[in-house]
């Protein structure tokens, strides 16, 4: 791993930790230090899979597949 890659990786890890702290505070969710590695690992999987969906081009007119019906 190059020095640049190390820096980027550390920054990403720290950013995600910062993000977890921010969202946990905002939502009043407890995240004990012992849980953090598992929460982070799960979030990384969720974001990786979400990215797979995110990168798929959809038209602006695409409708979500909601169940709601107005009466």
């Amino acid at each position: 791993m190059t020095e640049k890659e190390t820096i980027v990786t550390d920054k990403t890890t720290n950013s995600l930790d910062d993000y977890i702290d921010a969202v946990a505070t905002t939502l009043a969710l407890p995240v004990e230090e012992a849980w953090r590695p598992a929460v982070r690992a799960n979030l990384e999987v969720s974001l990786r899979l979400a990215r797979l969906v995110d990168e798929f081009p959809l038209p602006d007119e695409a409708e979500p597949a909601s169940v709601y019906t107005a009466g």
Binding site: L29, V53, P64, V67
Partner: protein
């Protein structure tokens, strides 16, 4: 009353009860005795409703004695995953936390409908915590165990349902399927399972997981029983916002139509990757029996699985947000950490997953213009050992939990009806998905019935008891 009901199908029990050759109370006592004898091994039940069952059975017998029609499930014992409301029980949904809920004041709609046709509820079944599970393991109640090898997983999250039916404790059980939770235990436990079209069967008074993806459905050891239960439970229900207003479309009368004229194809690409030889063999056997030589490519299946994952983790997190705040230490830690992470996925990514869902649905519906049935593996492997964390596939170590549902998720994501049929390989069975177009459960059941008659699909007798 000399009939031994231990090995009878639901249809045979109902016929014997209606014909006066077997009483409902005897059929019920036999089921309770089987549970008492074998569930010390299987751990499939969390609640046994013996008093209620005996009262119901006596009522069925009294009705028959009075010359009344008690319905096509007269005296048939059944059990439900413990996320169904059972009047008088707290709906635990596999959790510790829900045990503090008040007892349910009324049965789930599907229990009411089964009992209206004469069936007898004998208990509630073990499951993965809050249905966020593919293993059938549970840190609070212990794992349900596989009836063909108790050292192996049942599959989840409806593990107790697969175990109780596969172990012949009851002929019919009900479960739920959000990403594969009926089909995976069907595969591992060697039974038939029906995940109907999204919205077909009411979910009213069952504990939810992911409103966008939750389905309820039956397990059985033969297709006739599966169809009988399915038909008994159909019908609109204003208590479930997603339940269809379509009229009841009975499948049982159509089973004998066979498969002539049906266009059957095997799912290629994504569905032929990351599978063990047993899954390949099972699909090949079913394809050969169906004379299915055509392959179809379900487009963007990997992305569909990813989108299902995102919707699941975020809607699940939303459902449990208060419990995560107030009682985080009372969750299974693995479930808690997944749900907390789910609460942190940005909203635009969830919206895109729901938009992708509609796009994907349109593409898959296009496929159904040229085929009636698609065949795909249910699970990539036979039941792993309890506690197994990884498996080795083509030299690559892969996590078990994350990979069990890779072939079921892209199908339930758009609510297609599926019958999971068991292929009785040695030493363990494995399932194959028979997938039809929306609202065509009848076609999937007809194909499953034909496979059963040919001997290509069958629920093996429990070998682990």
């Amino acid at each position: 009353m000399t009939v031994n009901s231990d090995r009878l199908s639901a249809q045979q029990i109902a016929q014997a009860v209606a014909g006066g050759k077997l009483s409902a109370i005897d059929a019920t006592e036999a089921a309770l005795a089987r549970i008492a004898k074998h569930d010390t091994v299987l751990n499939s039940f969390t609640d046994i409703t013996a008093d209620r069952a005996r009262a119901k059975a006596r009522a069925v017998d009294a009705a028959i004695a009075a010359g009344q029609n008690t319905g096509p499930l007269a005296g048939v014992p059944f059990a439900v995953k413990n996320l169904f409301d059972v009047k008088g029980l707290a709906t635990r949904a596999g959790s510790k936390i829900n045990r503090d809920l008040a007892p349910a004041p009324r049965d789930a709609t599907l229990i009411e409908r089964m009992e209206a046709q004469g069936a007898v509820l004998v208990g509630a079944l073990n499951m993965g915590e809050y249905a966020y599970d593919f293993t059938g393991e549970n840190v609070h109640d212990g794992p349900s165990r596989n009836p063909h090898d108790p050292t192996r997983m049942t599959g989840g999250s409806s593990g107790g349902s697969g175990s109780a039916v596969g172990g012949a404790l009851v002929p019919i059980a009900l479960g739920s399927d959000t990403n594969g939770s009926i089909r995976v235990p069907s595969s591992f436990c060697g039974v038939f399972g029906l995940k109907p079209t999204y919205g077909r069967l009411s979910r009213a008074r069952s504990f939810p997981f992911v409103a966008s993806l939750d389905h309820l459905g039956p397990f059985a050891r033969n297709v006739g029983d599966l169809a009988l239960a399915y038909d008994a439970m159909q019908g609109p229900d204003a208590d479930d916002a997603a339940c269809t207003t379509r009229p009841i479309e009975p499948a049982t009368p159509l089973l004998a139509q066979g498969i002539d004229g049906l266009r059957i194809a095997v799912a290629g690409g994504y569905f032929q990757k990351n599978v063990f030889p047993e899954a390949v063999e099972a699909v090949a056997r079913i394809a050969k029996a169906m004379n299915a030589s055509k392959t179809v490519e379900i487009p963007e299946a990997a992305r569909a699985r990813a989108a299902a994952y995102v919707i699941t983790t975020t809607e699940g997190a939303s459902l449990h947000l208060d419990r995560l705040r107030k009682r985080p230490n009372d969750f299974d830690p693995a479930v808690r950490d997944r749900l907390i992470a789910g609460a942190m996925v940005p909203a635009p990514l969830v919206d895109r997953a729901q938009k992708f869902r509609r796009w994907y649905r349109a593409k898959v519906l296009e496929l159904f213009k040229s085929v009636d049935v698609i065949i795909a593996p249910t699970t990539p492997c036979i039941a792993p050992k309890l506690g197994q964390v990884n498996f080795n596939l083509d030299g690559v170590e892969l996590p078990v939990r994350a990979n069990i549902g890779i072939h079921t998720q892209p199908i339930s994501f758009i609510g297609l009806p599926v019958v999971a049929v068991p292929v009785p390989l040695e030493p363990m069975p494995i399932g194959v998905q028979i997938i039809a177009a929306p609202w065509r459960e009848d076609i999937a059941l007809r194909v499953a019935h034909a496979l059963e008659r040919m001997g290509a699909a069958a629920a093996p007798a429990p070998r682990g008891l």
